[in-house]
């Protein structure tokens, strides 16, 4: 069954929202991960400064995804959230904890170690469960009568743990590129030094995950064989990592590592899409059979075509206003900290 034009439109919107979310919240979650790997207060303050104007808005896309799924693909919304009940709980708690930590660490010296731990653990937890969900989806979600039909820990499989770790590394890699781009001096050098290790780790996990998927998933295999053009995506991914290596070696343009990592993420995302389209929940729910009735998609469409461009323009505006390197800090800790 072919999806209707409106269903395809909303599937496209959601795909873009997911990609935007992964890249945008990815770098600020990754900063949270890297935050836990240094004890130097000056670094920590500057790390937070680099994401201060952005992190809250980045989570907007998560709500777009949740609300969009509920409205346009209610079956996917119901099955996904039922299947990942505990991971989603951890995700939400992680996000809240991290948000509180962000706003409160500067308000109290005594509680600061608690907030710092919360910021690190919350960020890492959120990144991990998102990666684990990808792995669990690749393994397939048991569905009966349009509802999740597995156990509460059905998602918790070594493969999901592997992809979870992979995404933590991937987000940290994005964050390292981000820090290089947005900072200077010691923090920039510190971030540069971490890129190669993070990239190597992320690549290793991705290669293993790809091999396992190719071996495990008949659908992915047959899709890739039928869509041979899709091999361009992994090639682009490898080229992006090569570009990253060159960028790190030369250290000439500080935007290169982040840009290359974004291309790398894009390539991985499109590869995944080529392997599983048109399934939204492998191997049971497709775009066409999950779509809400046309009357619902139509009604939502009017709001979407007005609101989504406004959010996009706003997002671009915020990034434009706070472009360039953070030299004085955006004020939280005055850049210097204690």
């Amino acid at each position: 069954m072919e999806p209707s034009a409106l269903a395809s439109f909303w599937a496209g919107v959601l795909a873009c929202a997911i990609l935007l979310y992964v890249i945008l919240d990815g770098f600020d979650l990754g900063v949270g991960v890297l935050f836990g790997t240094t004890r130097e207060e000056a670094h920590r303050v500057r790390m937070m400064d680099t994401i201060a104007p952005f992190w809250d808005g980045n989570e907007t896309w998560l709500v777009v995804i949740g609300a969009g799924l509920f409205a346009a693909f209610p079956d996917v919304y119901a099955v996904f959230l039922g299947a990942f009940y505990l991971p989603v709980l951890l995700l939400l708690i992680g996000l809240i904890f991290r948000g509180i930590a962000f706003e409160f660490r500067f308000r109290s010296l005594r509680m600061r170690p608690v907030w710092d731990l919360g910021f690190f653990l919350g960020s890492t937890l959120v990144a991990f469960v998102q990666g684990a969900a990808i792995g669990a989806m690749i393994r397939g979600i048991p569905v009966a009568n349009g509802q999740y039909a597995g156990s509460p820990f059905g998602w918790l499989h070594p493969f999901a743990i592997l992809t979870g770790i992979g995404l933590v590394l991937g987000y940290a890699l994005l964050a390292a590129g981000w820090l290089v781009m947005k900072s200077d001096g010691e923090l920039r050098d510190w971030a540069y030094r971490r890129i190669q290790w993070l990239a190597a780790g992320a690549l290793a996990v991705l290669l293993v995950a790809f091999a396992v998927t190719f071996d495990y998933s008949i659908l992915a295999r047959s899709n890739l064989q039928a869509r041979s053009w899709a091999f361009v995506f992994p090639v682009v991914g490898v080229l992006a990592l090569a570009g990253l290596a060159v960028g790190v070696h030369r250290k000439r343009h500080d935007a290169v590592p982040f840009a290359m990592t974004v291309v790398f993420f894009l390539a991985a995302f499109l590869s995944l899409g080529a392997m599983f389209w048109p399934y939204m929940i492998p191997y049971s729910i497709t775009v066409a059979n999950a779509a809400a009735p046309e009357a619902s998609l139509q009604f939502l469409f009017y709001g979407g075509v007005v609101v989504l461009p406004v959010i996009a323009i706003y997002t671009i505006g915020v990034y434009w206003v706070f472009r360039g390197k953070v030299r004085k800090g955006y004020g939280r800790g005055g850049g210097g900290g204690d």
């Binding site: 809250d56 907007t60 948000g99 010296l109 009735p293 009357a295």
Partner: protein, 469 residues
């Protein structure tokens, strides 16, 4: 009641939504209050209004931020715990709640940022316009929530095809007669809540002898606005009661704790309903008044719970007491605001300390009324989640186990308790310190990060924690 996944999921939803609604309700009221006081400043040029505005803007920012954080959780609750509901009613509830999210995003992305950060960059008229748009935006946000909930209360405008609930007439869904009564009821509730908080804050400063001039503005405006709005609210409350009587007679009977059909019906003012024995203990009743309230005459027959099959009866305790608490809070607001205005007319408002104490202590009346009113509406709708269409017990995600929900419920309670402690303490400090200086924002704050905005109170009070010196 058993600790089954259905009960625990209901408890969890009640917990996270109750926690959440405090903030949007406060925000809706504050948005309207800020637009009002900014309008007054524009009209009179009184600089005092500007100080009052700047102060409440900070509270607004924090409240908005906390509403957004707790709202993210709500975006996922329908799917995690109520999978069958989400799947079956998603075609209707999904777009309605989606529009709510759209409205909130539009707000954050546009005028909210102007309101928080643009004071010096736009003309006073445009700034006022932005305030009005933010206020309108918060109201529209609640429009979608109320449209969604009204559809769950009295479903209309849909058809059922192959067991799927499909929207047939969106106009009917979003502008049903029930919606048109309940939305104003909720808006007025939000305005009153904030009005009482503004008045209580003014009373607090007056009692402490600080911020005299600002306190006077808050006290006078707060009590004045509440005094005007409360009779309108009582009227809309009455209309809401009529829709319940017409569309949900079982809920009405539960609210009235009317077990048996009576003619003429008496009104139970207070009692302890005994759900097992289906009777009221220690009842204080007024004969015939029940018929008058429901049907407008002294002799009408009023249906009791016995008229409904046991599996269709809602619980009685929560609707009965919830409703009475809500009405009680309304009456307190009426008494405080009208007596306060009487004192003001006599020129004794600022000196009558016992009354100031009463006003101060009445700050939570609006919140309590909102919560208990919603408890009445939601528990009274049981055993249905979508009235007459889908039962609550059939709406649950089938794979959920008791352990899952117990774990998540405890998780939410712990995290929210921490969130409430710090957020509450923060708002308390803001309110306690009062209008200490101009609202100024730290660089790095944006419309989507309002919690960062209200930072200046601490620096203004000389706190050194920020820099860790």
């Amino acid at each position: 009641m058993d600790l089954d996944p259905v009960f625990l999921s209901r408890l969890q939803f009640a917990f996270v939504i109750s926690f959440h609604i405090i903030f949007p309700a406060f925000t809706i009221g504050l948005g309207a209050w800020l637009a009002t006081i900014e309008g007054a400043r524009l009209a009179t040029g009184n600089a005092l209004y500007r100080r009052v505005f700047d102060f409440w803007l900070k509270v607004f920012a924090v409240s908005f931020g906390m509403g957004v954080v707790t709202g993210i959780v709500m975006a996922f609750q329908f799917g995690t715990n109520w999978g069958v509901l989400a799947q079956r009613t998603g075609p209707i509830q999904g777009p309605l709640l989606g529009y709510e999210a759209f409205t909130a995003f539009m707000l954050e992305a546009t005028f909210f940022g102007v309101m928080l950060l643009g004071r010096e960059r736009v003309s006073p008229r445009f700034y006022f316009f932005a305030c009005c748009m933010v206020s309108l935006g918060t109201m529209f946000s609640s429009f979608w929530i109320l449209a969604n909930n009204s559809w769950m209360q009295v479903p209309l405008g849909h058809k059922i095809v192959d067991g799927k609930i499909i929207p047939a007439d969106w106009w009917a869904i979003v502008t049903g007669p029930v919606m048109m009564v309940r939305w104003p009821h909720m808006l007025l509730a939000a305005f009153l809540t904030t009005g009482m908080c503004v008045a209580a804050t003014g009373a607090w400063y007056t009692l402490r002898g600080v911020h005299r001039a600002e306190a006077r503005v808050m006290l006078h405006w707060g009590l004045g606005l509440v005094a005007v709005m409360i009779p309108i609210q009582l009227f809309f409350g009455h209309l809401t009661g009529l829709y319940v009587l017409q569309h949900q007679p079982a809920k009405f009977a539960a609210i009235e704790a009317r077990w048996k059909t009576q003619q003429p019906a008496s009104e139970v003012l207070l009692a302890i309903p005994d759900e097992k024995a289906q009777r009221n203990l220690y009842a204080i009743e007024v004969p015939k008044l029940g018929s008058m309230i429901a049907s407008g005459n002294w002799t009408a027959k009023e249906i009791g719970l016995e008229a409904f099959p046991p599996e269709d009866r809602p619980p009685v305790l929560i609707p009965f007491f919830g409703f009475r608490l809500m009405v009680g809070m309304g009456l307190i607001m009426l008494a405080v605001s009208w007596f306060g205005n009487f004192l003001r007319w006599r020129g004794r408002l600022e000196t009558t300390r016992w009354f100031l104490w009463g006003t101060f202590l009445a700050f939570p009346t609006g919140f309590i009324a909102i919560l208990t009113g919603w408890f009445t509406a939601e528990v009274g709708r049981q055993p249905w989640v979508v009235y007459g269409v889908l039962r609550t017990k059939d709406a649950l995600t089938p794979a959920l186990t008791t352990g899952d929900v117990l774990f998540s419920l405890v998780g939410y309670v712990l995290v929210y308790a921490m969130f409430a402690t710090f957020g509450g303490y923060y708002i308390f400090k803001l309110l306690r310190d009062g209008p200490t200086g101009d609202a100024k924002t730290i660089p790095g704050a944006t419309g989507s990060r309002p919690l960062a905005f209200a930072d200046s109170a601490e620096t203004a009070t000389g706190s050194t924690a920020r820099t860790g010196a």
